[in-house]
Symmetry: C2
């Protein structure tokens, strides 16, 4: 038997069979096994001995918990491969500081702080930079709060955002977010490599450049090509390092962190020192334009060589002839003075006022200092290269995208939950503290940069004006090299770590097997290193490197990280709003509104920094989501989306309870009785039911097992599974319900009564005809049939009985012509009219025409009736051919043969035993009692058996008429007569139905449920 | 008994009792009544005679349909009041042309066509005017398609949008839309009155103006005040007309339509005539500025009087001295020439090229003709009044808002569905044809105006340049007066009709009684005229008149109509997407995408024409929606929103079926058994269940009636209602399910098996303790209890049995302190731990502390156990005090008294009859067999009755410990021992439970369902 639910607490103590998927450890050991354990019971708990047979005793459960390390399914599968880290896994004893705070710190601080923050402050101004930092950091802070709530809601799954999301929002979201996180990390590797190369080529070894600008315009592409070549080399080297010695990378982490901290400290030291003794970095201005200070040394138009005033090197740069007397100089050079100003005026200089507001530039615009006098003349085009100019157009939104990577990395702590002594305490505290620290550092850096450094230098991205020094380096103490070297190593380290982490994440996703095409990346080297994943990561990072610009790559990874944070917030908000009992985070300071705010901020930041990247990122995530959904990942970890469905179902059903249902909203909700061998015998029954699905209704398939409920749980479950399989084959959407009852008829009565819930209660019963009831020696089959008919009537449900169901069309057949004939004899709710309409929605029946027949009787005006019927159908908006069949006439026509034979029917007292009126018997009776006059009054006072004769007469007559008119119909729908009041007439009733439907290929007997199902009203 | 569903088809043939609400005509006549009808059966249908007892025979149903007029509930209640129209109602025989097409035409064409279309063409240009017309008309066309679908989905409810929406989207939307439609119509009345006054004061009797501009700046306010005074007078007059003689208004409708048609024809005629002989309206230009042509006659600076050139009247207007020789004239007048150009150059002139593109003006800007030479000099301020200038600032969006009322009125046809011979055919055809016609007229008018009339004249809103003629009048043939008079009468007529229609609509809404505060407006005069509603309408219309500007009022009514159209589209889209079987519009050319497009266009137009009006209109609609929802209108007309709930429930439930449930998403779904007298006896049971609701779970209240299902439908329904009432009192949200079974225990077994649906299946059973079972002579009560315990175990459900339930707190009590004590003896899924958590979410239990006790046994290390338990609870994130009770020690302590008394228990073969082990008996046994040594091996081979002794021993010991520790607890939760395997031990079992819980105030016995309900995982 199938036990559907994994029991996770038990899982902690049983060995796992697969990677990460809970083994199916049934909590119900058979009692046969349990008997052996009797010895262990303490007699103090004798009262509970039967429970103790099958359930863990509290003390033993607890003692086993002691041996339990808090590595979870997620952690385990994640770390399975990391054999190199076996040591670490065996001692999960890291505290908040070492386990969360410092790793987070190291991951959050990054290349942007050193390479771009000065430029951002210069371009956006202190106020707007503050805003940028505030936006990015509050976004990550809110995300950290949501993450803390998720991470403290039970044992923390290692593996970061991917595991958190996939375990709380489900495989689809998890996969999408996981891939986003992976791509983000991969592009982060590219960004770090580009940063490292930028430091290397610009500040460390400029002479290493391979490509040189042939002219001013070629400068950009030369730089980019240098980046590409060196980036690719660097990436290859790093990949090799990761491939052969990942353990060294992890060991060097603290070294890299030390580099970062030393660099930051040197900035603060430099800033403090600048109060007393600002560093000596002068910049040379021509007019108000900043000059690139690499092609001259003296900042003056002339120099005094000996006593002679000769043109300076600067002069020579601007003038075509070196002759002082007849200079052919750049106009701007002629009309403006050269001044030298202090690049780092220091904290006490009050420069902060000038840097308060931003100065966004277009690409190629020359950096100007607002305060200096300048005569506005167009200079020569050739001299543009001599000024410091903006290499890209800047805007507030662009800067947001470039800065955001400085705020990412907050998952570093939760990723190593497996190593933590107390993950539930360390993760929130460590992460939030780390974010607070970094935010404070960023805020103070913004202020210090703005307060110490001249605006023209700040805006000078590559330090051209300060002799190609790293701008932030000029501030640092004791030497710019501290920061240049420190940032270089920390950037290389961060790149290595990203390159180590990304393939592992990909491997983890691949091993979860929710994205089949990633399966190959789950494999690794002998030691579990993810070789293929590393290769893919390298290739994607290479894409980033080919972009070659840090400023272009940063927004890309911002997108992916924001996407991921968005879903962390979403997961927390959804779980909080759903309030499932199992949402009990230990971290209490979350609120759905905060998560929602965080979510909105992520979304806003995505669209602020770049709406087209945002759309691309969303499309990627959406495609992955759809792909996983399409693949139908079935993971045994539960997901919150399921909780959402539960809440939605609950809400909708409760809403339905508010008012009474209305004909307008009536839908077919079918209770379909199957016997469990039915599918073999009459598979078309279920097919027929599935063809009625177009009414957007529902099917509940019910089945009854004869037996004792207390012993039949297993059998029930097995049968339910069998029924579900049947339903899947016939594509019937719905539910199944198998009950055990001592008698089948009782089970059916109870199913009819208690199945369904609120507004989703069945209103129609479908069951098969008991074929061969005449031959059967066991009358129970057809007795059950009649009893079910009685039950549906009592429960005011509609009933459908398809006869000759094996002739019914399969779902692959198509009727290209033919009719569906309705014989409307009694109006009992309009079911007869609605069913053909519903059937015709299905492609099998689509091309059939509907005909509706009704029977005119003696006193009916059949012409008027036909007209009225047509009007009625018109108002019902059902297209059908209308025909009124005049039974009276047909009677009269056939009257000479056997009219009014009911008269003088002798009471068949003699054959009380053989009460059944078969057609043959009827014919015989008729022949005997032919040609006698009849009194109508007498007819009315007929005895019960005379009534049977009359019924049989009706059946025969109707059948004649129906066969006559509808012998070619694809399907004949017919009012089903009600069963007799007392059970004596049951056999007659069956006989009547047989006669009524004789000679018809496919018949559907229909009984209305007493309520109108179709309305002429809107 | 209550039959919940109205049967609408039957309603057509029974007299209605209330206005519009279907009378509760049960389709189930009792068979006693029916027997009398037996005479009528034709023997041909003898087979169906039982059906014919209670169901209408087809022929009689049909014959009754003949006498049925297609006035529906909506129509009937709507027209009930319209006694004046009785005649019309009696002959619903209007065709498409008279019934729909012409009324629509009359309602759509309106004042804007005559007063503003020329100005719109002039301002926006032909192309953009085309776009405006296209947008507005395609919006109404799409709405008409949606409306046609709704209107042809069954007998058409009269009353227009309100009835359509309220019957298809529900009372809330219906009310909101109805009020919008009402406000729209009321402001339309104001607009028409303003239009009529504008025609009256500007073109018919300008001298009637009361206020005159004292200076140029005062001109605007003088005009507005004139409008206000005359508007108010006109409104009062019209209100009186409507009050006393509404029938005349309706009779004059065709006259008004004739006016419109004649006016339009005269425009076409004029345009055609202009090809051969353009009308002679010259306009006078100074430079490129248009001059107001009312203060001079000759368009020239000088006139030849005799042979002397004297200054013209124009000259005198511009110059302060009349002296030709030394003129002190306006600069602009001096430097520019006066020219006279043709105002209506005619169709053949090619002027269309100049009018192709728009010329939007700021307020007060002078109208200029682009082609003319002009020297740009500032003229004197005083002379501004002499030029034609723009009276308001124009923009494309403003013009959209002003034009839109010309497209409204499309509901006119569906409003009179009651008068139509074949509403289902006439409404779509008539409405769509009318829209097509009007759209074509608008398109052609735009082109004709642009092709015939000079741009300067077009932009001249009030015809100042053409001697204060109506601009469109200048084009018309034979005389401008045709249009002036025609448009005046048609505008007055439209105003009267709006003023007639609006109160009736308000009355209809009021009579539906969904907005209680409107109730007073439902009353009317003796003849049903809605006096109060007319008064309110007048007051609101007066607000519009006080605005006084046609251009300001038009966007307001545009908003309300757009709002209403939006919902018509929404209703159609929702119904189409839901695909309920009863959505079968006869009009086939609808599609949800079209409706959705229409909806989007309405929304877009709202925000295009005025986003703040749009927000205000939406707020009004939203407030009405919320108000109606709050009032809880319960209407018996079904609504589509209910269908939405059904679809949502279906979708969610089917989604839940996709995968197995997970502990993470586990929620408490309670099946709660009540006997029907329970609420009287133990009302607190349901209270307790309601206190557990915080888990966002669900409660299914089940009850069993003993009896035969076939006869008990009524009883079941009554009981169900009783249970529902109980649930409402205790505010338990959920469902109830009453079943009839021959034995109660069978009923319970079946409820346990078959209640709930898919993912909404109960997982926990709650039932009361069978108090007084010892005293009861009927053992069935407690046998049923034990049987239910067995059933829940078999079905793998959890079980909760609250004991001493009458001591349980009501929902109004608050425990400010105290503890909830959990005695965790066996781990069976964690239910014990989760329940206090859930209870603590409820305000009654919020302040209680949770304590968890477990029992250490002989070989347990209780100190380690306590530590482990604390860790476990920490991981479960449940805050609780932990205590390990050492049963062994307590035993040893008490050992001297009665240790190991099980040894040498004689088999009580003798009293097989009195098998029950009461506490007393146990104590007696104990006393007898005191102080004897015991062998542990022997203990293990105890016979069943020895096992009973052991059990009783446990119960007594445990009870002692529990009472000792938890006697002060607010609630004690306790593992419930399982029932004995064979039924012989049932009485013992009951006794054990009694002993176990003795001396405790409130006890909740809990049995897990075998699956984990709580997890340490995230």
């Amino acid at each position: 038997m199938v036990t559907l639910n994994s029991t996770e607490v038990l899982n902690t103590v049983v060995p796992e069979t697969g990677h990460g998927n809970h083994s199916e450890d049934s909590p119900f050991l058979s009692s046969a096994d349990a008997v052996k354990k009797t010895d262990f019971y303490d007699r103090n708990l004798a009262l509970f001995e039967e429970e103790l047979d099958i359930r863990p005793k509290v003390s033993s459960l607890l003692s086993r918990l002691v041996n339990y390390t808090n590595i979870t399914q997620g952690a385990r599968e994640h770390e399975e491969a990391e054999n190199t880290e076996t040591l670490r896994r065996k001692s999960p004893n890291m505290g908040t500081l070492m386990g969360v705070y410092l790793p987070c710190l190291q991951n959050i601080f990054g290349v942007i702080l050193f390479l771009r923050l000065t430029w951002i402050v210069g371009t956006a101004g202190i106020v707007q930079s503050f805003l940028i930092v505030l936006m990015c950091c509050s976004c990550t802070m809110l995300t950290a709060i949501s993450m803390s709530a998720i991470a403290t809601n039970g044992v923390v799954p290692a593996g970061g955002a991917y595991f958190m999301i996939s375990r709380s929002l489900g495989a689809e979201f998890g996969g999408a977010v996981g891939i986003c996180f992976y791509l983000g990390t991969t592009f982060a590797a590219a960004m770090y490599i580009l940063g490292a190369i930028e430091i290397f080529l610009k500040y460390l070894v400029p002479q290493a450049a391979i490509f040189h600008a042939s002219d001013h315009h070629g400068g950009d592409s030369a730089i980019l090509n240098n980046m590409r070549v060196y980036g690719t080399i660097c990436l290859s080297l790093m990949a090799v390092v990761v491939f052969v010695g990942v353990k060294y990378v992890n060991k060097l982490a603290s070294l890299f962190l030390a580099c970062v901290i030393i660099s930051i400290v040197s900035i603060y030291a430099g800033a403090i020192k600048s109060v007393f003794q600002p560093p000596d970095f002068s910049i040379c201005m021509l007019g108000n334009r900043t000059l690139v200070r690499d092609q001259f040394d003296v900042c003056s138009k002339t120099v005094l060589e000996g006593n002679v005033t000769v043109p300076s090197q600067l002069w020579r740069n601007f003038c075509s002839s070196g002759n002082m007397s007849s200079p052919q100089c750049d106009d701007y050079f002629n009309q403006n003075n050269v001044t030298e100003i202090q690049g780092i005026p220091g904290l006490a200089s009050g420069i902060i006022r000038d840097n308060m507001w931003g100065d966004y530039r277009e690409k190629g615009q020359i950096l100007e200092k607002a305060g200096l006098p300048s005569v506005d003349v167009h200079g020569a085009v050739e001299s543009i290269g001599l000024y410091v100019s903006a290499d890209i157009a800047t805007s507030f939104t662009l800067l947001v995208g470039i800065f955001f990577p400085s705020a990412t990395g907050i998952m570093a702590g939760s990723n190593r939950s497996g190593d933590l002594k107390d993950a539930q305490k360390s993760i929130p505290i460590g992460t939030i503290l780390a974010i607070t620290t970094t935010t404070l550092v960023y805020f103070s850096s913004v202020v210090l940069f703005g307060a110490c450094i001249e605006g023209a230098v700040l805006r000078d991205k590559f330090g051209d004006a300060v002799s190609k020094n790293l701008v932030v380096g000029t501030l640092s103490w004791p030497s710019p090299w501290v920061i240049v070297i420190g940032s270089f190593f920390s950037t290389v380290g961060a790149g290595l770590q990203s390159l180590t982490g990304a393939p592992r994440l990909l491997q983890a996703i691949a091993k979860d097997n929710i994205i089949p095409f990633l399966r190959v990346f789950g494999h690794g080297k002998a030691n579990g290193e993810p070789t293929w994943a590393l290769l893919l990561t390298g290739l994607i990072a290479e894409l980033g490197i080919l972009i070659a610009s840090l400023d272009m790559v940063a927004p890309i990874l911002s997108m992916f990280f924001l996407m991921c944070y968005l879903f962390v917030n979403l997961a927390c908000a959804v779980q909080t709003l759903l309030r499932t009992p199992n949402w009990r985070p230990r971290f209490k300071y979350y609120h759905w509104a905060l998560s929602f705010l965080g979510m909105s901020m992520c979304l806003a930041l995505m669209f602020i920094s770049s709406w087209y990247y945002a759309i691309v990122a969303m499309c990627i995530a959406g495609m992955i989501y759809k792909y996983i959904e399409y693949q139908g990942a079935e993971k045994e970890w539960g997901d919150g989306i399921r909780g959402l469905s539960l809440s939605a179902a609950r809400y909708s059903l409760l809403r339905l309870e508010l008012g009474p249902p209305h004909t307008k909203n009536w839908r077919l909700i079918i209770m379909f009785f199957v016997s469990l061998d039915l599918h073999v015998k009459y598979p078309r029954l279920l097919t027929f039911v599935s063809q009625l699905k177009a009414g957007k209704g529902l099917t509940i398939v019910g089945s009854v097992i004869q037996g004792q409920f207390l012993d039949s749980y297993g059998e029930t479950q097995a049968s339910e599974q069998a029924v579900k399989n049947m339903m899947e084959i016939e594509r019937v959407k719905g539910f199944c319900q198998v009950v055990v009852a001592s008698k089948v008829r009782e089970g059916i009565a109870h199913l009819i009564q208690s199945c369904g819930l609120g507004g989703m209660k069945h209103n129609t019963v479908v069951m098969g005809w008991p074929y061969g009831w005449r031959q059967s020696e066991d009358p129970r089959a057809w007795k059950t049939f009649i009893n079910t008919v009685r039950c549906t009537t009592a429960a005011h449900l509609a009933l459908m009985v398809p006869k000759n169901v094996s002739f019914y069309p399969s779902n692959h057949e198509r009727f290209t012509d033919g009719t569906i004939d309705v014989w409307w004899i009694v109006h009992d709710g309009g079911m007869l009219m609605l069913l053909p309409f519903l059937l015709k929605q299905h492609k099998v029946w689509r091309k059939c025409k509907m005909r509706i027949f009704t029977v005119a009787q003696m006193d009916d005006n059949s012409i008027q009736m036909k007209k009225d019927l047509a009007t009625f159908l018109y108002q019902l908006r059902i297209e059908a051919e209308v025909e009124v069949v005049e039974m009276v006439h047909s009677l009269i026509r056939m009257g000479s043969l056997y009219s009014d034979e009911e008269e003088e029917v002798v009471e068949p007292v003699a054959d009380k035993i053989q009460m059944t009126w078969t057609k043959e018997r009827y014919e015989a009776e008729r022949r005997n009692r032919n040609n006698a006059p009849e009194n109508f009054r007498e007819l009315m006072s007929l005895k019960p058996d005379q009534s049977n004769v009359r019924r049989m007469h009706t059946a025969v007559k109707l059948n004649e008429v129906i066969v006559n008119k509808s012998h070619d119909a694809r399907l004949v729908l017919l009012n089903m007569p009600g069963p007799p009041r007392n059970t004596d007439g049951d056999e007659n009733y069956m006989e009547f139905l047989e006669v009524l439907t004789e000679g018809l290929e496919r018949v559907l007997l229909v009984r209305g449920g007493g309520r109108e199902v179709i309305t002429i009203y809107s």
